[in-house]
Amino acid sequence: MTNSEVFHIRTEEAPSLAAPASTSGAIGWMRQNLFSSVGNTILTIIGILIAYSLFAPLIQFALIDAVWTGENRDACLPQEAGEHVGACWAYVKAYLPQFIYGRYPTEEIWRVNIVYFLFAALLIPLAIPKVPFKAINAILFLGVFPFVSLVLLTGGDFDIGFWGWGFVVVLALIGVVIAAVQMFAGGQDFAGVKPVLLAFVGTAVVIGAIFTLASIDFGLPVVETAVWGGLLMTLVIAVTGIVASLPLGIVLALGRRSQMPIVRLLSVIFIEFWRGVPLITVLFMSSVVLPLFLPEGVTFDKLLRVLIGVTLFSAAYMAEVVRGGLQAIPKGQYEGAMALGLRFWPMMYLIILPQALKLVIPGIVNTFIGLFKDTTLVLIVGMFDLLGQIQSSFSDPTWSTPTQGHTGYLFAAIVYWCFCFGMSRYSIFIENKLNTGHKR
């Protein structure tokens, strides 16, 4: 065996062997991520212990020991139902309508359901980027939906009164006066003043139309806001707050970046004032002090007062979000628009705002999350949002058991968490989608 056959010439590549078992598969993954060193191993064990000690009791309470059916407290009392009674889901089931609709009259609940349905039907296509007709959708959602739900929820048949109509007339008059001044003193022709006229008179006509619509009696029984509650109240406050604060926030953000010193100063004061105070003082202010600011005999509904407070408060935060978007627009865009001869407002709504607002969608969603969580504060001024409604149900003797409070809070936590987590995922999704356009 001394011939040349000992030489081996490889004619084909060696087959690639699987990686050693210790670096691949589940074991490899564990070695790398869990037990790479002594310290890491200890951390892993501690971590698993922490996770176990937190989640095991929770699962025990919420699922294993839970009571799912029952007619009253007897089902969940330890004396009646055995030693360990966990979450009393039977109580949540009994109270679910109240948590969703508040004390809204049972025979009128279909109105709330329509509003919920419209809300979902308009919001979901608006939120999915691929669905077309965004502009119409947005107008429907931001412009038409609020008033349809206003009439549906309250029953319409509003008494607009002197102040309401007076406001419309004054608004229209201001437009006419400015246009007249520009035509006669400023020497402009009618085409030149048309935008101003359109802006003021148009707004007045739109508001007037809304007022007319709201004052029509549709034959719906009036449902006072005092009986609204639960999720309905939470959504009304959060959605109204965000929808109403968006335009206000845009104006404030533009004001803060304005060249005019007084406009800038006033915007800064407004924004920093509302951002510097806690929401709870704003709510106290709107529920206790606002009535003093109004002339004798003029009163607002309590919900409306809270809405005004919440809107002003979130407008300040919205302004800062929008300002971030405005700052992210390259200066060239402004200069380009000006070079085309566009004036301030056309430049803004044709060039700058469409780009800036798209950029700040994640920021708006995040503000909404914050506002959604903050709506719980209204329970301190005596309104029944979801948390308030749950808390007030604790006083019902028919369901009072040792675990009622825990169950109620757990249910509230789950609902809030699902909403907020869902929205924050959506915000990240949009952020990633927007980011692609800017990647080099």
Partner: protein, 339 residues
């Protein structure tokens, strides 16, 4: 340019501001809108509490219904606004509610400094203490060292401070914003004692996990005359508020109930005749129909009917008439006669 526009804008704005018409009287307002807006508590069983359908019941609620019956002849022409302790006076002052019937204590400062008028007393109350039975405490004087749960911003917080100081007993106060939170904290064992108006103690005891484990101590440490409130400066409305309550009390005294009121119309007793509007025109004199009291009694009942149905011994609250009995039965309830 600005010279020309200023007067115009200012004029337009001023025009709006200046025509802030001095409001009509409360009665005219109420008649115009067709119902009475009544401020009540956010949920106090026996006094004003919404049931699961959202219908309000209670002693304070009955008073509001009685007022609606007096003005409109229809006890359902009333809407309820639940108010927190903090908001209640502002809500009345600003005109958000027409009458406040929210177990509110009549005190001098409220009567004189807040621009309010108390229309009378519909429940004579006093501040009491509730403790766990297993503490073995039988008198409030044994409460030395206790931690005390109560509501903020009510007279009870001040009374309890006075009481413990006067008796030289150390204590710890824990004051919450809402009654539900006080009950929750007391039930959790944060406090040994829960103090509020005695009627409130009986009402809140129902909300505890085991009401039977708690008792109300015999001591009453303050005078808490609770009654309906209206705005100062509108005597017409004030009169209606006063006489609605007086009519209910007088009806009890004269033996007129919701059941026999129709027969009583033909009664020979001149007092009954005057009360029910058969004789005289007492209603018209205060701007409401002459059969105002008839309507109150027919649709709401007299004072004792309202009391028994809402807080009386046969209700879960189980409060006896005690000082709230009529003056001729050993209590304080005394109404001036209709004549």
């Amino acid at each position: 340019m600005s010279k020309k526009i200023l007067p115009l804008v200012l004029g337009a704005a001023l025009g709006v501001v200046a025509t802030t018409a001095a409001g009509a009287t409360t009665l005219e307002d109420v008649k115009a809108k067709g119902f009475i807006q009544c401020g009540v508590s956010q949920g106090l069983p026996g006094f004003s509490n919404p049931d699961s359908q959202g219908n309000w019941t209670g002693l304070d609620v009955d008073y509001c219904r009685a007022m609606a019956a007096a003005v409109f002849g229809d006890a359902s022409a009333v809407k309820f606004t639940p108010l927190s302790a903090k908001e209640r006076f502002t809500a009345l002052q600003s005109g958000e509610v027409d009458v406040l019937s929210r177990n509110t204590t009549w005190t001098m400062s409220r009567d004189t400094q807040l621009g309010l008028n108390f229309a009378g007393v519909n429940y004579y109350d006093g501040q009491g203490f509730m403790v766990r039975k297993d503490l073995g405490v039988t008198s409030a004087l044994e409460l030395s060292g206790a931690s005390v749960c109560t509501n903020t911003g009510t007279t009870t917080e001040l009374n309890v401070a006075d009481y413990f100081r006067a008796n030289n007993m150390p204590y710890e106060i824990v004051a919450f914003e809402k009654a539900d939170e006080v009950v929750g904290a007391y039930d959790a064992g944060r406090c040994d004692v829960y103090t509020t108006d005695a009627s409130g103690l009986y009402a809140q005891r129902l909300k505890l996990a085991n009401p039977g484990d708690h008792m109300v101590l015999p001591e009453i440490i303050s005078k808490e005359p609770l009654g309906p409130v209206v705005r100062q400066g509108d005597d017409e409305w004030f009169n209606i508020a006063k006489w609605t309550l007086n009519a209910m009390i007088n009806a009890e005294e004269l033996g007129v109930t919701s059941e026999n009121v129709d027969e009583m119309k033909s009664s020979d007793n001149p007092s009954v005749k005057r009360l029910l509007g058969v004789e005289g025109s007492f209603g018209e004199a205060i701007g409401i129909p002459n059969d105002w009291a008839y309507n109150i009694i027919k649709s709401v009942g007299n004072y004792s009917e309202s009391f028994d149905a809402n807080v009386g011994p046969d209700t879960p609250l189980g409060i006896s008439r005690g000082v709230n009995a009529l003056w001729n039965k050993g209590g304080f309830m005394y109404a001036p006669p209709v004549r």
